[in-house]
């Protein structure tokens, strides 16, 4: 994430605000590479749960980078 992150951040924040209003969790499966995903989403309060959407024996997405599952828990 570099230029344009203000717009991207605004789009993500909107969803986070909705989750906060309901006091429920927000989550994302990020297609971006690990360091990019963790850098961008971590700043917004998401934490990686250490499991990727490409994990699991026989998963047709096996071998693909990224796909971190990240959560921002309810406050």
């Amino acid at each position: 994430m570099h230029q344009g992150n203000r717009h991207g951040t605004a789009l993500v924040r909107h969803g986070l605000d909705l989750a906060a209003k309901e006091n429920i969790a927000a989550s994302v499966i990020s297609a971006a590479k690990k360091e990019v995903a963790e850098g961008f989403y971590a700043k917004l309060g998401f934490k990686s749960i250490g499991i990727r959407a490409v994990d699991g024996e026989g998963n047709p997405l096996s071998g693909i980078e990224g796909d971190q599952i990240m959560f921002k828990d309810k406050q």
């Binding site: 344009g4 991207g8 789009l11 909107h14 429920i24 969790a25 927000a26 959407a53 693909i64």
Partner: protein, 194 residues
């Protein structure tokens, strides 16, 4: 309207939209600095925005390993077809009112320009009820996506059953970001889930 008539209409509409999209990108290509100074306005997406949203997602993911190289190996030959992948997803998801489509916009020379999109999904019992109803819906009628490998086009859906069951218990109800792309300002990042 017959299928043939539909596709002729789609092609005309598509060409107009592509021209509009190229105009947007062209008018912004030299304006990267604007992104540093202009705050985005976030609004709900209209159905008319679907094409631009899909085009932004296609451009943002053009060289992505999964969405570009694996799912769309013929994208160099048919670059203007790649948006059909997202257009199909958006049209299907549009029917579930627990999907929320947002666009980020800026005002420039009196016009609104869309700079990015996000799909947030309010997961929970009601979302699932709508999804169950939608299983009977026909696939959106769209032209063949020639940029895609037909065997890879539904790769994400096929992987869905392998998703770890982490959305249970207190996490069962929540907002999930399904799709997210910001492109015009070269902020290439995206995410797509199921």
């Amino acid at each position: 309207m017959s299928h043939n008539e539909y596709f002729v209409t789609y092609q005309q509409h598509s060409q107009t939209n592509q021209a509009y999209y190229r105009h947007l990108v062209g008018s912004y290509a030299h304006m990267d600095s604007l992104s540093k100074t202009t705050e985005a306005t976030i609004r709900l997406a209209h159905a008319d925005d679907q094409f631009i949203m899909a085009s932004i997602a296609a451009r943002a993911n053009f060289d992505d390993d999964l969405f570009g190289k694996i799912i769309h190996p013929y994208r160099e030959q048919y670059p203007e077809d790649m948006h059909i992948f997202w257009l199909k997803k958006f049209r299907k998801a549009w029917h579930n009112p627990y999907n929320l489509f947002l666009v980020s916009t800026v005002q420039h020379n009196g016009s609104e320009l869309i700079t990015g999109m996000a799909q947030w999904s309010r997961r929970g019992e009601y979302f699932n009820e709508y999804q169950a109803l939608l299983k009977e819906c026909l696939e959106p009628a769209l032209p063949v996506n020639r940029a895609a490998d037909p065997e890879m086009e539904n790769l994400i859906e096929r992987s869905g059953s392998y998703l770890p069951d982490v959305w249970t218990g207190k996490q069962q109800s929540g907002w999930r970001q399904i799709s997210y792309s910001v492109d015009i300002f070269k902020a290439i990042d995206s995410s797509v889930g199921v």
